[in-house]
Amino acid sequence: MGVLEGAVIYANLLTLLAIGLTLTYITTSVPNFAQGSFAIFSSYIAYVIYKLFNFSPYFSIPFAVLFGGFIGVITYLLVLKPLIKREASILILMIATLAWDLILLGMIGIFSESLSKYFGAYISRFIFPYYLDFKIAGIQGIFFSSTFAIVLSLGFLMFLLYKTKFGIAMRASMENPSLAEIMGINVETTRLFSWFLSGAFAGLAGALLPFKQEIVQATGQIIIVSIFAASIVGGLSSIYGAIFGGYLVGLSESLITFWLSKIFGTSVLVYSKAVSLAILVITLLLIPGGLVTIKWRRYIWRSRH
């Protein structure tokens, strides 16, 4: 896998995850620390289904997507909704998602180790080897499938938000929940649906991620920092921001560390996550609203005069 190719695949998947995080942040205003575990749990589901049917791993995608959506819905109904009803502060909600992430980690561990016993094989740590993937013109299929996945998901999301009545209701409840409620929109339904979508996107990313990197139980805990970086760099309250940030962070995490490794040697490669975290901290300090809040027009206007 070429460096650029790998970087694009990673950026595609990261963008999918960042869109999910942003979506629930907009509707529920909770930064969800469990987003990474949503994806990794779905990866394990995808792997188990692949093991059971011994068919192409692509066959497990629909299951992983549904499973991801299912966890998303459960997260909202079981963990967040009761707390929101009690008017818990945003910090309390954040702590709750951290706790939920820990619960999911425990479940992933139990699930993977129990199934290892069942299959009589070690499945706690796995990867989809390259020969399971198709190839077009010498490029691994995951490059195309991940690009296709992001295009499809974005197309679906845009169609939903801008072309359907439910989408209008969703946008209205994102913009101003109380006003939307007065206009007869059921804000609860739109919130629930956003959690389903967020989980489903994470499930899709999770089903494809094993083609790119090895999955272990704690991968979700590691990847979550990149997801946060991606969402925040673009602006936590904008879907476009998530797309922009996902590619920026995803590409720079792989490419910057690659270039640095050429200068300083391969020992820098392990710091790839530090790159995204550094981007995150710098963005928060300089432009807390994210890149989408910069008024680019102002700079264009200045340069003309």
Binding site: P31, V79, P82, L83, R86, A88, I90, L91, I92, M94, I95, A96, L98, A99, W100, D101, L102, I103, L105, G106, M107, G109, I110, E113, S114, K117, Y118, A218, Q221, I222, V225, F228, A229, I232, V270, Y271, K273, A274, L277, A278, L280, V281, L284, L285, P288
Partner: protein, 350 residues
């Protein structure tokens, strides 16, 4: 697991986590600062012991070796044998490391909270978490700094105590430090400073209107509480004999999430409550850990009990947030000297 070992491990962890949770209580319980990177202060403690003091000792005895891990190992055997015959050396080393960790912790804590000048609430929490994660990542992957994933042995400051007594000596030492921390914090927080912190938590804007510099309070508070938390890091590193217990990838759970759980369980902004929270947590945690093989055998579990532990503590946290957000013990009014006087006068009248 022997019963004695279980008791000593409960007491030991009660001490370490009490110091850490009490310091988190100053920041989060009293001051309302969402320090989601609490683990960083513990890392500073381990860093002081493993990277700074170790290097000083290595230079003092001009020890040669290929890596910091190896050099520290050689140094440890030299220093341990000196401490074995000279208790004052060990106590001196411990005191020196604690003081140094206090200073380094205060400086790092003060710098670390600077982002709060521009950010608050969830954004601040994410930033602090990210800063701590970066530091842990560097400390873990860079094996030249503090040994990374190989760890770095640190001297046994209680080497003069015979083997079987060492565990209990450490327990006594740590519990003594816990008591000192508790009394010190009770005194510090039952003062106008404690009230200032609570005011900052409840309404920072109103506090600014009464002429207080919020940023300065935050810097002072974080310097103060991080200094305490780094001492917990030093104590744990010395107990474990290696910094590897702090410098690992589970830091976010062990050194940030668990202290938050204990503070919320015990009762925010109530030091006695926090101690109760720590004790309840540590007892459950150590029992589960101590009897994990027995539990797995008994229930015929096909997996490691550690995973179950995560589920239990995660659920416990959510349950507290939902059913008992005020914790075991409620917040109490701050008892400054004038208020105490008023109270005694009042009771005399009655």
């Amino acid at each position: 697991m022997a019963f004695e070992a279980l008791i000593s491990s409960i007491l030991l962890w009660f001490g370490i986590y009490s110091i850490l949770s009490l310091s988190l209580n100053v920041e989060y319980g009293y001051g309302g600062i969402p320090n989601f990177g609490k683990a960083l202060a513990v890392l500073v403690g381990a860093f002081t012991a493993g990277a700074i003091v170790n290097r000083i000792l290595i230079a003092m005895y001009s020890i040669e070796g290929a890596t910091i891990t190896q050099r520290s190992g050689f140094m440890k055997s030299t220093v341990d044998s000196i401490i074995a015959s000279n208790p004052a050396y060990g106590i001196g080393l411990l005191t020196l490391t604690l003081l140094l960790a206090g200073v380094v912790g205060a400086v790092i804590g003060a710098l670390y909270i600077l982002p709060s000048a521009k950010l608050e609430s969830d954004y601040l929490a994410i930033t602090l978490l990210a800063i701590a994660e970066i530091m842990f990542m560097i400390a873990y992957y860079n094996t030249d700094l503090i040994g990374g994933y190989y760890g770095a042995p640190v001297p046994d400051v209680l080497a003069f105590i015979p083997g079987e007594m060492r565990e209990w000596a450490f327990v006594a030492l740590i519990l003594f430090m816990t008591l000192v921390t508790y009394l010190f914090l009770e005194r510090t927080l039952n003062s106008p400073y404690g009230r200032l912190l609570r005011a900052m938590r409840e309404d920072p804007v109103a506090l600014q209107f009464s002429g207080k510099d919020i940023m300065w309070i935050r810097i002072k508070t974080l310097a103060f509480s991080s200094a305490i938390a780094s001492m917990a890091g030093v104590l744990y590193s010395f107990y474990a004999g290696n910094v590897v217990g702090v410098v690992n990838l589970f830091a976010r759970v062990n050194w940030t999430f668990f202290p938050f759980l204990m503070v919320l369980l015990g009762g925010m902004s109530n030091n006695r409550g926090v101690l109760a929270g720590v004790l309840s947590f540590v007892v459950i945690w150590r029992l589960l850990d101590g009897y994990k093989h027995e539990i797995a055998e008994l229930l015929n579990l096909p997996f490691d009990v550690n995973w179950l532990q995560y589920i239990i503590f995660g659920t416990l946290m959510i349950a507290i947030l939902y059913y008992k957000p005020e914790g075991i013990l409620r917040e109490k009014p701050i008892e400054t000297e004038p208020i105490k006087e008023l109270k005694t006068k009042h009771s005399e009248k009655v």
